[in-house]
């Protein structure tokens, strides 16, 4: 027991010093014969897609040969996460796909668990949120929309995904940034992006909020107007200002990442991170990002852990403002 703890301390120290024991990492990585990918969502969704993309590229690049998938859908990952924690405890080759949605779901559902109970491996991809209005809308810019929102918050209906989800969180942040009481938001929650698109195309609501990818084709076809993006700077290929440029000091990335099972050693953690270092560096992954319209926002290991903590604090604040936490 003592010796193991010492090794852990040594590993932590090594990590803290930025000294990466590469020899061990590679050996450990090779020792990983297969990867168990746990998806706390249904097959076919975004997290499943992330897992499948990891599998496809790792196979093609010969980073890893064997994969096993397990799905446990429900409540934005809150159903799956405890299953992952109990069934995979201490398993060095088990990873769980997760993302910002989970942070919100854990808080909003008051689930008795924290993402910091898991071992952070990496943040992989991100998608920025888009704010769109129907083509017939009187609002030409984000400034127009904000002005109307400030004048009479209840009159502006925001269509987005489930209550307390990423889209709702963004609207809450916008309200706070422009000085509107977030509890006064007329938020129309839907299950998923499809109904949001329908509501905007049918001119049923003032505006729609969802990941850019959901709206992209409709914006290109001129069926809806893109007012602003939630990124920190303008994105290549997207012809719209950021919220910050439009005077709303908000940025939000809907990130997806990878977590390891609780109870694995820092060496084992580093071995898993090593796998993803190689994945990110590969040509196949770069092409996968382009093909799937994902933005690569890689952040490795414990830095990602601190990021998750900071996100949890920030999102808890927003959800409290909206009145959901």
């Amino acid at each position: 027991m003592t010796s193991r703890r010492d090794i852990m301390k040594a590993g932590l120290a090594a990590g803290a010093l930025g000294y990466l024991p590469f020899g061990i990492t590679r050996a450990e990585a090779q020792a990983l014969a297969s990867l168990q990918i746990f998806v706390p969502a249904a097959p076919g969704g975004g997290w499943d897609g992330t897992g499948r993309a990891i599998e496809a590229v790792m196979r093609a690049e010969k980073i890893m040969e064997a994969f096993q998938f397990e799905h446990a859908p429900g409540a934005g990952g809150v159903v799956g996460m405890p299953k992952f924690m109990s069934s995979k405890k201490g398993q060095p080759n088990a990873i769980m796909i997760g993302g910002m949605v989970m942070v919100g779901a854990i808080i909003a559902n008051k689930a008795p668990l924290k993402l910091s109970d898991l071992v952070p491996i990496c943040r992989l991809t991100g998608e920025y949120e888009a704010i769109v209005v129907p083509a017939e809308s009187p609002f030409k810019t984000m400034k127009d929309l904000v002005a109307a929102f400030k004048a009479d918050p209840g009159k502006i209906s925001w269509s987005g995904g489930s209550a307390g989800g990423t889209d709702h969180i963004l609207v809450g942040m916008i309200a706070k940034a422009v000085g509107v009481d977030p509890k006064k938001i007329a938020y129309v929650a839907n299950s998923g992006g499809g109904p949001v698109i329908a509501a905007v195309l049918g001119n049923q609501v003032s505006c729609g909020v969802s990941g850019y990818g959901e709206f992209a084709e409709h914006i290109k076809a001129g069926k809806m107007r893109l007012l602003a993006m939630s990124s920190d700077k303008r994105l290549p290929g997207i012809n719209a200002p950021t919220l910050k440029e439009e005077g709303v000091d908000v940025e939000l990335a809907n990130w997806r990442g990878v977590f390891g099972a609780p109870g694995i050693t820092p060496q084992q953690q580093e071995a898993l991170v090593g796998l993803f270092d190689r994945l990110i560096a590969s040509e196949g992954w770069k092409q996968e990002l382009i093909k799937r319209d994902w933005t690569g926002i890689y952040m490795r290991g414990n830095a990602f852990g601190s990021y998750v903590e900071a996100e949890t604090t920030r999102i808890t604040g927003v959800l409290k403002d909206i009145g959901l936490a």
């Binding site: 409540a75 709702h168 299950s191 499809g194 799937r292």
Partner: protein, 501 residues
């Protein structure tokens, strides 16, 4: 290029041997998973997503569409034979279909379901081919207010399945609405009636309740009365196929069901269940023999089965025309588009015309294949009823249990299945109808969500429901359906009185 020549090009793509083979595999797999309760097309296609890295997109979508159409066919089989709906869209089918099977008319019920599915699937596919644009435009006119009014119309028409006692029927309906309320509240994100069980956060799957009430409840009921069991010999009395009378009574419901199912399927929140409810109550109203409803009326199978197949075709309209998923299956199919780097959207038809038209052509072919595949199977399925009842019902229990476990591999679902089964047993024992539970469970949460969405948009002003013309129209229809028969009866009596005087 006009629609027709594009369609012909589509046939050229779909009729290549390899694509025909994919289509055949798709419809066969689809029929099989349709038969299994629990395992639905969305999950099956999701599990098959990894093949997108191996085969070309046209082949993959022909396979997926075959599975989707096939599941709609297969789902009726177990509804009719075993009172165990394979999909939620087949729940209504079991109401009359199983009664028909009990009377030894399983062959006719299965045949009218299969042929009705073919008719509706073909009408729906013709609709996709020529009507996509106007249908999408109409569908987008439906906002929360319109949906809520549509739900009101549904609630009123489902009085048709409430049974003889209004109190018992309404009780069952409210039990269903309560079950539907369990889980995270969509509009506020708050938990309702979950009692800390994380598996309940996403609500209870309606299939678990349907299988529990119908299959498990029924089995328990039969097990407690071994004597009556012997009377209930499920023997095929007349010819396996439909007779002249059956054809005469089926063709109109097929057409009406298709016309109800297709546009509602195309609506973003329409779904496949609502048209089956509407078709069922419409057929009951229009039937020459309304007294047969509840005891095995063939119209009650023909109409809803046509409606659910036409709605499956309807779902493909916004998916292909707008890249808009309106059902779980369509959502999974869209994610398959993305893994090919194809962006489904309003321009899909112009950027990937060959793929879309090949897919549409394959729907015509798949539909014909399904009919050829399913009609001969009717004879085989019917033989299943010759299995002695104890074995048959033992088999149903196993079937229902495995199917339910397959939905989410959750033990909580299994416990729910049996708890609901026991409830179904007592409902049967005390003569409560079970169908309203399912209807309440599907319609209740939808009506609530759309009501609250509409009120959010209107800032709490209920006038929104009558200010919007489509919504008002639906509410007037609902009022007529509610008050019409009573008023008509009154005028008739009044005329009778004046006539005598």
């Amino acid at each position: 290029m006009d629609t027709f020549s594009q369609l012909m090009q589509g046939f050229a793509i779909a009729l290549t041997p390899i694509n025909l083979l994919w289509c055949l595999v798709g419809v066969a797999v689809g029929t099989a998973i349709g038969v299994l309760p629990g395992l639905g097309p969305a999950l099956t296609i999701a599990l098959l997503l990894p093949i997108t890295t191996k085969v070309d997109p046209t082949a993959a979508f022909i396979l997926f569409a075959g599975i989707y159409y096939g599941a709609m066919y297969g789902g009726s089989t177990t509804s009719i034979l075993l009172n165990t709906p394979g999909e939620s869209a087949n729940i209504v089918t079991s109401l009359e279909g199983n009664k028909m099977a009990r009377k030894g008319r399983a062959g006719a019920a299965l045949a009218t379901a299969a042929i009705g599915s073919f008719v509706a699937g073909t009408i729906g596919t013709i609709g996709i081919t020529f009507m996509a644009e106007p249908v999408v435009k109409l569908a987008l006119k439906f906002g929360p207010a319109e949906y809520f009014s549509l739900m009101m119309l549904c609630f009123i028409t489902v009085a048709a399945v409430l049974g003889n006692s209004a109190i018992r029927g309404l009780t069952a309906l409210f039990v269903g609405m309560f079950l539907g309320m369990i889980g995270v509240d969509n509009q506020s994100g708050q938990l309702r009636f979950t009692f800390g069980v994380t598996e309940l956060y996403d609500g209870i799957n309606v299939i678990v309740v349907a299988v529990g009430l119908f299959a498990i409840g029924e089995t328990l009921w039969l097990a407690t009365r071994p004597k009556e069991q012997q009377e209930e010999v499920l023997e095929v009395k007349d010819s396996i196929m439909m007779n002249r009378e059956d054809w005469r009574r089926s063709w109109k419901p097929w057409l009406r069901g298709s016309l109800i199912g297709f546009p509602i399927g195309a609506m973003p929140a329409g779904g496949a269940e609502i048209p089956t409810f509407l078709s069922y109550s419409l057929e009951k109203k229009l039937s020459e023999k309304p007294e047969e409803f509840g005891h095995g009326a063939i119209e009650g199978v023909a109409g809803p089965e046509a409606a659910n197949n036409a709605s499956a075709a309807g779902v493909l309209v916004p998916m292909l025309a707008l890249g808009l998923p309106t059902s779980a299956t369509a959502a999974v199919m869209l994610s398959a588009f993305q893994s090919y780097g194809i962006n489904p959207g309003p321009q899909l038809l112009s950027t990937n015309g060959a793929l879309v038209w090949g897919l549409i052509a394959s729907l015509y072919i798949g539909n014909a294949m399904l009919l050829v595949l399913n009609l001969p199977l009717v004879g085989l399925w019917v033989k299943m009823l010759k299995i002695p009842a104890p074995h048959l019902y033992g088999g149903i229990l196993i079937f229902a249990t495995i199917g339910t476990y397959g939905i989410s591999r959750s033990v909580v679902d299994l416990m729910l299945l049996y708890a609901v089964g026991v409830m179904g047993f007592f409902m049967r024992r005390f003569d409560f109808p079970t169908a309203p539970v399912i209807i309440g469970m599907i319609l209740g949460p939808l009506a609530e969500m759309n009501f609250r969405q509409a009120m959010t948009i209107s800032q709490g002003d209920p006038m929104i429901f009558i200010q919007k013309p489509l919504s008002l129209f639906l509410l007037v229809l609902a009022a007529l359906a509610l008050l019409g028969p009573a008023l008509w009866g009154l005028t008739k009596r009044w005329r009778g009185v004046t006539g005598e005087a």
